[in-house]
Symmetry: D2
Subunit: 167 residues, 4 copies
């Protein structure tokens, strides 16, 4: 299924982004709300781990602030304070509000809530879509079908330490 | 590179396994020592998460007890007690000892120590090889290039909980 | 040193509380900001663990929302949404704002930032004061000098499990 | 209740210790088995945190290897390898074996299994006794009734970081 266009009222950390402009790269779209506990403890840190695990010219991580509750306090001004405090550097779009309280991109993607993670392939099609806390192994596997991970080496250097034991 | 044959003196939780017999499935070979702290805290739990994330008919997780230190106490009898206490159910091979203290499969694969994780593809070739603590995102990505993950859904059911917030 | 009076503009989850009214009980005063990452990940959960570990008639946990940055978005309305999303049930006072941006109770106590944890004894004197992430063992020890912990038992029931092994 | 004498067949990391010789100091006696998962993941690290949180001239942490299962592989030789791999430096006594498989000190203290943690006060009396996973807050509180914690400061130094936010 082709990923719907993003309807974003404002971008943080980035000029305007579009799916068409990202064609050729995998996109990990992370929908969150700044006051959603599971987003703060799980979703946002996982989005950062995705950012680390793959090369930036192959995969783009995009945040989407999809506010469907407590609209009056999760404003874009509040989001900017959140982004400042949590030192987030990924591009984040403010999902465009609608009359019924469910923002437009959230509606278009049929998201059940936050956090949601949508993986969009190099041709702009939805490859995977999770709500809640998918584990890193599963998320990595789904992205890995589309793009190779960056190099990684984390072994101990000598003898035994918390990482392991060397010969 | 073709994965070397396994040289195993004894199997736990399984009859004898060979790479040839597993052709057509991906193999995650997890080399560990029962008294290696990084294996107990990181490697073994990660092997269990791999086991969970992929279907058993597509991917096999195999433990390899590659003892290169404290040989006198990390015997196969001690390993059986460890497997009992930790309730491990994956097949585990005892890496065949050699005169120089480095077991034979460990030597053949050129492992630097424990934990080591080797991913072998459906044709029996080494696809990836890590020493120490590769993160789940990276391991998942490497395996995901070879095989799709199992289904996963972990969203909250109503309102906000530790997993997230529903519409 | 006698603990300064609290200067609070508004109470959540409680009618007005005063130190004088809590005389005879130990008070754990937890100063935080809703957008401070260390407060959300460490301070607030630790305050909840203090709440669990001691009997409510012996020890009172009181939150203090001491906003010294991003005042425009960490309003009491926003705090109410935060309290709702994180399902916090302890009494929380909004530290009274002042002209220089440092709220009045924070100033009176000389807090260096958030999270801060102040332990006040049964006679209203400051017994301990930490800024940042004191570990649970240390916090427990400081409170334990003043009041006994509640009963606790967490052993496994049979054989070995993640908690331990029974005879 | 007065704490029973220790019946220990061998000491690691220490010359022979006795309760009488430790009079005047608090003793945290940590009974464990090297192959008990809850001991390795919870009990031993908690014993190390107790060691850190209190001054050594006020509180002594003593390990007790109380083997009641898999005796044939949890030998004192195996324990030495475990102590080496996990880099444990606290004194550890090997609980003296008995004919029925329950070691003598374990029997004398009525321990239900491992891990168990017994707090003995400055006069040699049992002050507290837990089986399984008591939380750090509770353990700290029980010890804190007997002895003050060491100094601790863990605040951030500037701006916001993972520890908190400074003024």
């Amino acid at each position: 299924m082709e990923a719907p266009q993003w309807q974003v009222s404002e971008w943080l950390n980035s000029k305007r982004l579009s799916l068409a402009g990202l064609r050729g790269r995998v996109v990990a779209l992370h929908a969150f709300q700044m006051l959603c506990p599971g987003c703060v403890s799980h979703g946002v840190p996982q989005a950062m781990r995705i950012r680390q695990a793959f090369a930036a010219d192959r995969l783009v991580v995009v945040g989407l602030h999809s506010v469907f509750e407590h609209h009056e306090v999760m404003t874009s001004q509040a989001l900017r304070a959140f982004v400042d405090e949590y030192k987030l550097t990924i591009p984040i779009g403010v999902d465009a509000p609608s009359a019924d309280g469910i923002p437009k991109t959230m509606r278009a993607y049929g998201l059940r809530g936050t956090p949601s993670l949508v993986i969009i392939d190099q041709m702009g099609r939805i490859a995977e879509h999770w709500f809640g806390r998918p584990d890193d192994m599963t998320v990595g596997a789904a992205i890995g079908r589309l793009v190779a991970p960056a190099q990684f080496d984390a072994g101990p250097t000598n003898g035994c330490d918390a990482n392991g034991c060397t010969v």
